[in-house]
Amino acid sequence: MTNKFTYWLRNFLPLLFFLLPQIAQSADDVASQTNLNVVWTCLAAFIVFFMQAGFATVEIGLTRAKNAVNIVMKNLMDFSIGSLTFYLLGFGLMFGKSNGFFGTTHFYLSGTTGEHWNYTFIIFQTVFAATSATIVSGAMAERTKFVAYLIYSFFISAIIYPVFGSWAWGSLLDGKGWLETLPTGAFCDFAGSTVVHSIGGWLALTGAYFLGPRKGKFDINGNPRAIPGHNIVLAAIGVFILWFGWFAFNAGSTTVGTASIGRIAFVTNLGGAAGSLGAMFTAWILFKKPDASMTLNGVLAGLVSVTAGCNSITPNGALIIGFLAGIFVVLSVIAIEKYLKIDDPVGAVSVHGVCGIWGTLACGLFNAEGALGIAEHSTGLFYGGGINQLISQVIGASAAFAWGIGMGGLLFITIKHSIGLRVTEHEEYVGLDIEEHGMEAYYTTK
């Protein structure tokens, strides 16, 4: 007995001392990784939230002073309404157990209150939903009835955005969307070129179309006229805020504290910088001057275009995609104004819709998972991945276009023929600030 005991003591106890900390260590590792994921995802959510300030100042800067209060209220309300409706309805439709087309559980987090990750996940997804909603505000600026805007804002955060989101992103939680199970491979949209930006962009296009142009935007021959924004500095500050927010928008979409955050942030930055240069040179060649508002649009265009592929493209790929987006955005702004005769005061349709589609398709061309070492094979056409991914991208982008235009059309036509979409001519002339809100943005001594 004594011998056995000493044998055990001599041989196994040291082993036990050696092992115990190891077991404890690995449990600690899991806990700290979970905590890191929560901290990183929440931090990213808070920064993406701040993009609301960017969207508001860009829109205020590129429009006239007499409508600034209205824009403040629109941006404040689409976030507030979006936060509530996404919690009550949208989140369940997007991430609940799904039939392939929309989720049917998790409304107001029901049945999941014990799962702590869901709180982190929903705050991150809420700020994304609100981003999509706020894109539309810019295209419809300076002439939309406030109450009509509130109704629109409810429907995009409650239904339009989440249903499409469930198609592409449902499996990030408990759903499963049809775009994730395409025979040609899952639709690739890492941080939302399509899910967030294109959907917002196509709704913006539909809204601006059914509203009609601002008074004085086109002369009697239908040629576009300039309605200069009242504060380019404010617009620039807004773009810098958005650029800052984009690091969190893209790198936060990992929702995991991993080494790829640095790569995604770097790729994102190259996209924005290249977009800025692409737009500036295009404007310089076409208009003889490096137009500031177009260059600012170019930054956003570049950022939107690398949002889908930020986790799967190389830095060089981002450079090319972003630069081309900068060129496309300027041409698109001109085309929408000159040929479609649609008045989009801030260029939201071109930035988010057109460059969102470009970024989505670019995944099918530039995806380089193999080269980046995150998967065995690259799926991009240019990296030997064949054409399958590109087909998936075309399907996803077309679905977004059809869904955005279709639902947008239904919504805006209904509003137009019920409570009305547009303010009176007199109100537009005086400004929405005084007529809708009874106040001005910039008081002078009176």
Partner: protein
């Protein structure tokens, strides 16, 4: 009593003000105005669409003076406000019928200063 109204280039306000101070003229008001004369407008462009800005920013100075100061004031502005290019501005001298100082109820020459 005369009212001198001068329209000058905005960037000349500093030197014109100093010239008036140097001649002991310290009571005047200044406002920001827009006008058009022989100067052409400025061609600007916004998002690729040209805008002809034809009203140009000027500074308007109004000085109420007793007769003996009028010539000094006008000369000071003519001197300091000149760049020699189109758009330097104009000076008008108008008679003043009556003047009052609100605080002390003084009137006429005393009110002007």
């Amino acid at each position: 009593m005369k009212l001198v109204i001068a329209y000058i280039k905005p960037d000349k306000l500093g030197v014109v003000k100093q010239a008036l101070y140097d001649n002991s003229i310290k009571r005047f008001s200044v406002s920001d105005v827009y006008g058009h004369s022989d100067e052409d407008g400025i061609a600007e462009s916004y998002r690729g669409i040209e805008i002809q800005v034809d009203l140009i920013n000027k500074i308007k100075i109004e000085i109420a003076l007793n007769d003996e100061f009028v010539e000094v004031a006008v000369n000071a502005i003519l001197e300091a406000g000149k760049s020699g290019q189109l758009g330097d501005g104009k000076i008008f001298v108008l008679p003043i019928e009556q003047a009052y100082r609100i605080r002390s109820r003084q009137s006429g020459k005393d009110a002007i200063g």
